[in-house]
Symmetry: C2
Subunit: 357 residues, 2 copies
C-alpha cells in the first residue's frame, strides 16, 4: 500500500510535515458546509499551508454524493488551474473523502489527495481500502475507483463535537474489528464507553489506531475482495437487513446501529453453527443492549429480514445464505452457509438476548 | 501489463476465444453511430457472443467525448443491470475506447473491457498505454484514468472502408514509431504506401503489430510518463504548434498530418543539434511531401509557432523549449533544449525541404 497513515492529534503540524516532503504546485482543500465551519478554522490556525489553499465547499450528506457535486469539484479544479502536480485535501466524513478522492483520482487522469477524516466512522472505515466514488441512479457508490490517498491523517480532535449517534455509528465498526482481531482487542473495545461526557480523546485515538490496523491487515491480504477481506463483512449481512426493514417502516436506524445488532446475530449464528463460546456472545449482547438500545422485531418480521439477507449482493441467487462467522474470537470463517431455518432460530435467541418481548 | 494484445483479421473468432476464457455475466458492446452501421454487422456475423450482447450506441466524434455521453453510458449500464462481473466491448476509434474505457473503469469501481479499434490511429496509438477519459471544460482528456483493457483485438479488416485522410493520420504515428525503433523499421514504413487503392491489409496488420510493439516498449519502461516515454512525443511539439496555427486560420489540419510535418521539423532540429545524418531527413521529407502534401507557412508565422511550442504543456514557463530529438535513427534524446533562434533556422530548412516558397 502506498498510503501513509499518520495518527496524531496535532493535525495541522502533521499535515505541514507531509506537504513539506512532497513537490506540488497548487493546494486545494475540499470541505462540506459543516466541516467548513467547525473543522477548517482549526486547521487554518494550525497549518501554514492550509491558509493559502483554495477552499472548495460542497453541500454535506450522502444525498449530495452525486454527479452534480462531482462535476462542480472537477469544474473548480479546472477553473483554478489544478494540474496533475496539485494536491487536494479532503477534510470531512466519508462523503467528502469518497467524492473528493474520486474527483482527484480522475482529474487529469489522477492527482494526489490527502484525507483528514473528521468522523469516527470515516477514520475507522473510509481511511483504508481506497474506495472512492459517488452514488448514481439510486445506487450507493455505483460509480468510483479504488485508489488510495497519498496519506491519511487520523486524529480524534474533531470527535468531541460529533453527535453521540455519529460516534456510536463509527464505534460499531471498531467492535467488529475487535472481534476479528482477538480476545484482547475485544476486551479493550467492550470496556471502553465512547460518548460519555468526558471520554478521553487520546484513548480513542489509540483504540482507533489499533482498529484500523486490523482492517488494513484484511484489506492488504485481499485487495480485490476475492476472499478473506469478506471477514470485514462480519455483522453486515444481518445489519443491512435490519437497516432495510427499519427504512421500510419509516423509522430509519443509523448504519452503525444496524451493524451493532447485526454483530449480535452473527455471533448467535457462530455459536449455533461453529460452537463459538457463549460467554463472548453474552458480553457483546449486553454491550450492544446498553449502548445501542433495542429495536422492535417480532416473528412477523422474519420473512422480510431473511429475504433481505438473500438479496444482499453477496448472496444473490442462492438458497442458503453466506455469512461471515467466527469459530472463535479472532478466528473468522467466511462463506459460512446458513439455512433460513437457522436464521429463524438465531433471531429468536437474539430477541431473548436483547430483551425484546 | 495485464492487457492482452491479439493481432488477427478474424476478429469475431478471436473475440469469442477471449470471451470463452473469461467468467462474466452480461455482455455490452459500445459503438458510435458510424461503427454501428459499418463495423457492428461484421462482428455480429462472425461472433456468437456479440449477437446476444446489449448494444449501447453513442454519437460519434471527439465533440461528444464529454460528460453527457459518459453519463448516458453509466445510465445504460446501470439500467441494464451491469455488474462488476460484466464486460464491455469498445468497438470504434479512439473516441469510443477512451470514453468506453473510462465508463468501464469507474462503473462499480471497475468492470472489465475489451477494445476492438476500427481505425488505424486507434489501433496504433490508443490500444496501448491505458489512457481513458473525456474532454471537460474545453480541455482534451481533462478527466480520466489510466487503466488497461482486458485485451485489445487489433485487425485491419475495418481499414479498407476508412477515408484516406483517416488512414494517413494513423500512419504518421507509425512513421514516428519506425524512427524511434531503428533503420530497418524506418525503411519498412517509408517504403509502404498506405491508401493506395489496393493496399494489402495483411501487410498493414503486420506493420501495425510491429509499430505497436515499439510503443509498448517505451510505455512499459515508463508507465508514469516520467522519462523515456517522452520519446513518443517525437514530432508532437512542432506538430501541435502547426495544428493550432491551422486551427486559428480556420483551415484545420488533421492531427496526424500535423504530426507528419512535426516529424520533419524534429529531424531538422536533430540534424542541426545532434548531427543526425541528413540522408534520413531528406527521405522523410520527401515521403511526407508526397503523401501528406505541403502547408502554407511563411516567416510571419514563426512567432506564433514558437509561442505555441512554448505553451505546449511539457514546456510551460521555460525560455528554451524541450524537444524529443534523435541522435541517430533509433537513438532518442529526450529533453533536448532548443532556442527560439534554432527553431527559426529549422523552420527555414523545413520550408525548403517541403518546397514551400
Amino acid at each position: 500500500m502506498k498510503q501513509k497513515l499518520i495518527f496524531s492529534n496535532e493535525v495541522g503540524k502533521m499535515l505541514d510535515k507531509q506537504l513539506e516532503a512532497i513537490i506540488f504546485d497548487r493546494l486545494f482543500i475540499l470541505v462540506d458546509e459543516n466541516t467548513a465551519s467547525y473543522a477548517l478554522p482549526l486547521l487554518i490556525d494550525s497549518s501554514k499551508y492550509v491558509s493559502n489553499a483554495k477552499v472548495l465547499t460542497i453541500k454535506p450528506d450522502d444525498a449530495n454524493k452525486n454527479l452534480d457535486t462531482l462535476e462542480l469539484i472537477w469544474q473548480q479544479l479546472s477553473d483554478n488551474n489544478a494540474t496533475r502536480s496539485s494536491i487536494i485535501i479532503n477534510l470531512g466524513g466519508g462523503m467528502v473523502s469518497d467524492i473528493g478522492g474520486f474527483a482527484a483520482s480522475t482529474y487529469m487522469r489522477g492527482m494526489r489527495f490527502i484525507n483528514i477524516p473528521t468522523t469516527l466512522l470515516a477514520a475507522v472505515d473510509a481511511s483504508v481500502g481506497g474506495k472512492t466514488g459517488i452514488n448514481f441512479n439510486g445506487y450507493k457508490n455505483q460509480i468510483g475507483v479504488i485508489n488510495e490517498a497519498e496519506s491519511s491523517i487520523i486524529s480524534s480532535v474533531f470527535f468531541k463535537t460529533l453527535p453521540k449517534q455519529e460516534l456510536f455509528s463509527g464505534y460499531a465498526e471498531m467492535i467488529k474489528h475487535g472481534l476479528l482481531d482477538g480476545l484482547e482487542s475485544t476486551n479493550q473495545v467492550l470496556s471502553f464507553r465512547i460518548a460519555e461526557p468526558d471520554f478521553d480523546i487520546s484513548a480513542i485515538l489509540s483504540l482507533t489506531k489499533h482498529s484500523i490496523s486490523v482492517k488494513q491487515r484484511f484489506v492488504e491480504a485481499d485487495i480485490n475482495e476475492a476472499g478473506i477481506r469478506k471477514a470485514l463483512n462480519l455483522g453486515h449481512t444481518a445489519g443491512h437487513a435490519i437497516e432495510s426493514l427499519m427504512q421500510k417502516r419509516n423509522t430509519p436506524l443509523p448504519h452503525g446501529y444496524a451493524v451493532a445488532h447485526g454483530l449480535v446475530i452473527a455471533l448467535v449464528l457462530s455459536h449455533l453453527q461453529l460452537q463459538l463460546p457463549s460467554d463472548i456472545l453474552y458480553r457483546l449482547a449486553n454491550y450492544v443492549y446498553e449502548m445501542y438500545g433495542t429495536i422492535d422485531i417480532s416473528c412477523d418480521d422474519y420473512p422480510a429480514l431473511i429475504s433481505a439477507m438473500q438479496h444482499d449482493k453477496k448472496n444473490f441467487g442462492n438458497d442458503t445464505i453466506n455469512f461471515t462467522l467466527l469459530k472463535e474470537i479472532g478466528k473468522v470463517q467466511i462463506n459460512s452457509s446458513v439455512t433460513a431455518e437457522n436464521i429463524g432460530i438465531a433471531l429468536d435467541i437474539y430477541r431473548d438476548l436483547m430483551h425484546i418481548a
